[in-house]
């Protein structure tokens, strides 16, 4: 769905700031905690005290490099930190240490679904290192009109991932963000939490007459904190900018903000002289040298990425694109599913059954928190349940029941099935009597079957299953009915 009037085309580029999940901050050894008492996770360095100096966190560098490799970026052997100078109370040094003309990685790409079953490639301009600012808090002190600053977050490692303006719709933008987020989460470098601000997005957007190759005047929409709002903000801007274009109105490049209450974007500030950040090379940090062997060693730690996993699940195991998407929505879900798969590798029938069971039963109750997902059962338990079905010990319906008994516990499905008397009726003598009974009671259908309507056998199977409350072995019932009817 798109609301772009056909005469206009939207040009959208996203800048994503992702906090790196390091143990310590970018330039000091303070912990990167979330939710600690204000101003407790601080030291002279991240407080910007006079005389304190930054020392680069190698763990953050490694995470950044792995991200760059996962996004097909070139990793620059030499990059340079730069100071971005501006005054703000949450910025203790009066400058942010960032990278400017020599970032550590450039020229990457990311594939996103094009909404029509295919894929499109979005360029990644660059990825560079930054440090986060603190937080200004308003209205928390007794003194009226006073604001206070919490610097716990100051110095938290960030990477900024700058995308090319290759996106053309709100759907594109959200697809890009989802693909990007799942990669960061799969790499375990970021927890992908938009609400808490560990994954933040600024949207650059302009519209132009369809077919034009020029760029229109763009606006930037800052810090939109959910996929839903990114979508809404873009739709809103496309409509608004198209309206301005229709009316022939021009405007200056500026920054806007998503107003959740009003469900619209609002003007924030004009980009002009105040945006001269006076970047210059950070003299307190030597250039960052990333030598080949180190980068190559890091490349070996990049796991199979969600896209590759999806391709493997669909092409090698015959799962549908939809199933593959659901089962890789979080890397830990993918890992769970693959542990179940591993019991009978390269068996498409097993894969299909496992996929159905995990999707319909397990995922309903799985809880995701950042990098971790808690499951109600272990993959081993699921394998055991499904093995009981394969062996004919229990029916598919019983499998669901059995799952109900074992979830949230470490109980053995085999034991529980036994305890609950769930073994399916496979005693041919007992079942044959029941089959005879059902055939005798339904002469019309028997007549029909014998008259060539062999499809009616399903009716008889159903009747037998009903009598056994689903515990009959359906394959055996099928054979026996043929014998009785034949």
């Amino acid at each position: 769905m798109s609301t772009v009037p056909a005469r206009y085309e939207a040009v959208i580029g996203l800048e994503v700031h992702a906090q790196l999940l390091t143990k310590t901050k970018q330039f000091c050894s303070c912990p990167t905690t979330f939710g600690a008492e204000p101003n407790t996770a601080v030291c002279p360095v991240c407080l910007g005290l006079p005389g304190a100096l930054p020392v680069l966190n190698r763990e953050a560098v490694a995470m950044g490099v792995r991200t760059a490799l996962a996004l097909d970026c070139r990793v620059n052997e030499r990059s340079v930190f730069a100071r971005k100078n501006y005054f703000y109370p949450d910025l203790p040094k009066g400058y942010q240490i960032s990278q400017f003309d020599l970032p550590f990685s450039e020229h990457g790409k990311l594939e996103i679904p094009d909404g029509a079953g295919g894929a499109k490639t979005v360029g990644i301009t660059r990825i560079h290192f930054e440090e986060d600012a603190g937080k200004n808090l308003h209205g928390v002190t007794e003194a009226a009109g006073r604001s206070v600053v919490d610097l716990n977050r100051a110095g938290t490692p960030l990477i900024e991932i700058v995308g090319e303006p290759d996106l053309r719709s709100a759907d594109d933008a959200v697809a890009y963000l989802k693909r990007l987020r799942e990669i960061l989460v799969a790499l375990e470098v970021n927890d992908g939490n938009l609400e808490e601000g560990s994954f933040r997005c600024d949207v650059n957007i302009s519209v132009r007459p369809t077919g034009s190759t020029q760029f229109g005047t763009r606006v930037e929409v800052k810090n939109v904190n959910s996929f839903r709002n990114v979508h809404k903000a873009i739709e809103h801007e496309i409509a608004r900018l198209s309206g301005l274009a229709d009316a022939g109105e021009t405007f200056k490049q500026h920054t806007r903000q998503w107003d959740d209450e009003g469900q619209r974007t609002v003007f924030l500030r004009i980009k002009e002289g105040s945006d001269d950040y006076r970047y210059f090379p950070e003299p307190d940090l030597p250039p960052l040298i990333l030598d080949r062997p180190w980068v190559d060693a890091l490349a070996k730690t990049v796991p199979e990425l969600p896209d590759a996993r999806r391709r493997r699940l669909t092409s090698a195991l015959g799962l549908t694109a939809y199933d593959a998407e659901v089962l890789t929505a979080h890397p830990k879900i993918g890992d769970f599913f693959e542990s179940v798969l591993a019991a009978h590798p390269s068996d498409p029938a097993w894969a299909k059954r496992a996929a159905n069971f995990v999707m319909t039963e397990v995922l309903a109750e799985a809880q995701a928190h950042g990098l971790t997902v808690t499951f109600p059962v272990t993959p081993r338990q699921i394998v055991e349940v499904l093995d009981l079905v394969t062996a004919g010990t229990i029916s598919g319906k019983q499998a669901k029941e059995l799952y109900g008994f074992i979830k949230g516990s470490s109980a053995s499905p085999t034991e529980v099935a036994k305890e609950k008397g769930m073994a399916q009726v496979s005693d041919a003598a007992v079942l044959e009597q029941l089959c005879q009974k059902v055939v005798d009671e339904n002469p019309k259908q028997a007549q029909a079957y014998r008259g060539g309507k062999t499809g009616t056998i399903g009716f008889f199977v159903g009747q037998v299953m009903k009598l056994t409350q689903g515990s009959a072995n359906p394959a055996l019932v099928n054979d026996l009915l043929k014998k009785v009817l034949g």
């Binding site: 002279p44 910007g48 005290l49 006079p50 203790p92 210059f280």
Partner: protein
């Protein structure tokens, strides 16, 4: 002889040998500082100094091994963070500020059992060449109290000259150790950039700042350097290189060393009396068996301009943190954030600091960056190459530290450019990150001190000290001290 007029090494040895106590030395320093009329100290607390001395004596009494600076009274430039004393950087904006931590160099001196006499006066944020930019009033030159001590480490140089400490730490960005050492007639040593950790040194220009040492003699300055040198995990620009035996390098024979003499250091602007003293000094070097090698260092003339672009650019950013939000002075007109920033910085910074912040902000601004900052970096590289070319022909470069002797207060205040030229001979080595030392040469006719500067290749402080020590032994300034008050 007064305890404070012995050499740093003799005093340290006497304490270690138990001949005198740290307490006696501290009391001698306290008595001198209490009588001091040079205004060398900004923070002086006799009780704190005594307590530190007593703890050194107690350590000795317990039979524990004492550090190489045991009981030696050492003063610290007020730009070095100290957890037990105010650190103001000579500025109103940090009046009363107490850092929660020690600079690495300070912590190393503590570990070496030094006793701190207090914090020494300086040009505000180390910006100045005469000490007249201290927000707390200038230091007077102990040789002539109507004259400046040089800067920015004027307090550090004057304290040693006046016998108010046996050694001091200063910082050198463009000559701030060597120039005041020359003007006050003491030894001032700036190590190679990266030799001493800058952690806890309140930054003026990060790519140039370096902590160094002052003492009455070369061996004293060398002993202090041994204590503070070395790689520090808190400073990414400090370098892990072996530290030589600097005291051991003093006393080696300099015979056969080739000394480069740049023609550019003897051109117009050099006071005749200084020129005469340095030329006599060059002859003395020849007498020591060194050969003089005439040199051209064609980019010397661009050093002042280059320095004032690089240093001001960095300072405009480094001093942004003094915004009234977290520490130091806050002036809040009660209007808005911008007004608080403006009022705080207007009231807190002196004229020279504001001038340099403005200049630095300008050279980094969009549209000017390439013309100034980028160009200055290129010229900086050319200046470095001048030295590389020179060191292909010689082992060290010698010449005047300062073009003039100490001048009367007020003589250059109205003319910042004339003031900036006071550092014309020290700036090139700073821009190239090289070690330099100023050693007293023959005084001027009026008896004012003159300094001989010796610059060696990076990391070769040992050879620099060998030359400095040999020169010191034959210098007419040897043993000369200003009258004690």
């Amino acid at each position: 002889m007064e305890l404070l007029d012995s050499s740093l090494l003799d005093a340290a040895d006497a304490v270690r040998a138990g001949k005198i106590s740290a307490r006696e030395l501290a009391d001698a320093a306290i008595a001198r500082i209490e009588r001091d009329d040079t205004h060398a100290y900004l923070d002086f607390d006799p009780a704190r100094t005594r307590a530190q001395a007593i703890s050194v004596d107690e350590k000795r009494a317990r039979g524990e091994a004492l550090g190489p600076l045991a009981g030696v009274p050492i003063g610290l430039k007020d730009v070095l963070c100290t957890r037990d004393a105010r650190t103001t950087c000579g500025s109103k904006i940090l009046e009363g500020y107490r850092p929660p931590y020690d600079a690495t160099a300070v912590a190393k001196l503590r570990a070496a059992d030094a006793v701190f006499t207090g914090k020494l006066n300086m040009d505000e944020f180390a910006m100045g060449s005469s000490n007249e930019n201290s927000a707390y009033g200038p230091v007077k030159n102990p040789w002539d109290k109507s004259r400046v001590p040089g800067g920015s480490s004027g307090g550090s140089a004057a304290a040693v000259s006046a016998g108010l400490a046996l050694g001091t730490l200063g910082t050198d960005t463009g000559g701030s150790i060597r120039q005041p050492a020359a003007l006050c007639g003491v030894v001032g040593l700036k190590p190679t950039y990266g030799r001493v950790s800058r952690y806890g040194l309140v930054a003026f220009a990060s790519s140039l700042d370096q902590i160094g040492t002052f003492a009455a003699d070369v061996r004293g300055a060398a002993r202090l350097l041994e204590a503070i040198a070395g790689h520090d995990g808190h400073d990414a620009t400090s370098v892990a290189r072996p530290i030589d035996e600097y005291v051991g390098a003093c006393g080696r024979d300099p015979k056969g060393l080739r000394l480069g003499v740049p023609a550019e250091y003897f051109e117009a602007g050099l006071e005749p009396e200084v020129k005469a003293s340095i030329e006599a000094g060059l002859k003395a070097f020849e007498g020591l068996g060194c050969t003089l090698v005439p040199l051209q260092m064609p980019h010397t003339k661009h050093a002042v301009a280059t320095y004032y672009v690089v240093a001001t650019a960095e300072c405009s950013s480094n001093l942004a943190r003094f915004d009234g939000v977290r520490y130091g002075l806050r002036v809040d007109p009660g209007k808005d954030l911008e007004a608080m920033y403006g009022a705080t910085r207007d009231r807190g910074f002196g004229a020279e600091v504001k001038r340099r912040i403005l200049l630095g902000t300008y050279v980094l601004s969009a549209g000017y960056y390439d013309a100034y900052y980028t160009k200055a970096q290129k010229v900086r590289t050319l200046i470095r190459r001048d030295f590389e070319a020179a060191f292909a022909k010689c082992d060290a470069i010698v010449g005047p530290t300062s073009p003039s002797v100490a001048w009367p207060f007020g003589a250059k205040v109205a003319d910042p450019l004339a003031m900036y030229l006071a550092d014309v001979y020290t700036l090139p080595a700073s821009l190239a990150g090289l070690p330099g030392i100023s050693v007293p040469a023959a005084p001027s006719a009026s008896g004012l001190p003159v300094g001989m500067q010796i610059v060696t290749p990076a990391w070769d402080e040992a050879r620099m000290l060998t030359l400095a020590h040999a020169f010191e032994q034959v210098s007419p300034a040897k043993g000369k001290r200003p009258a004690r008050s």
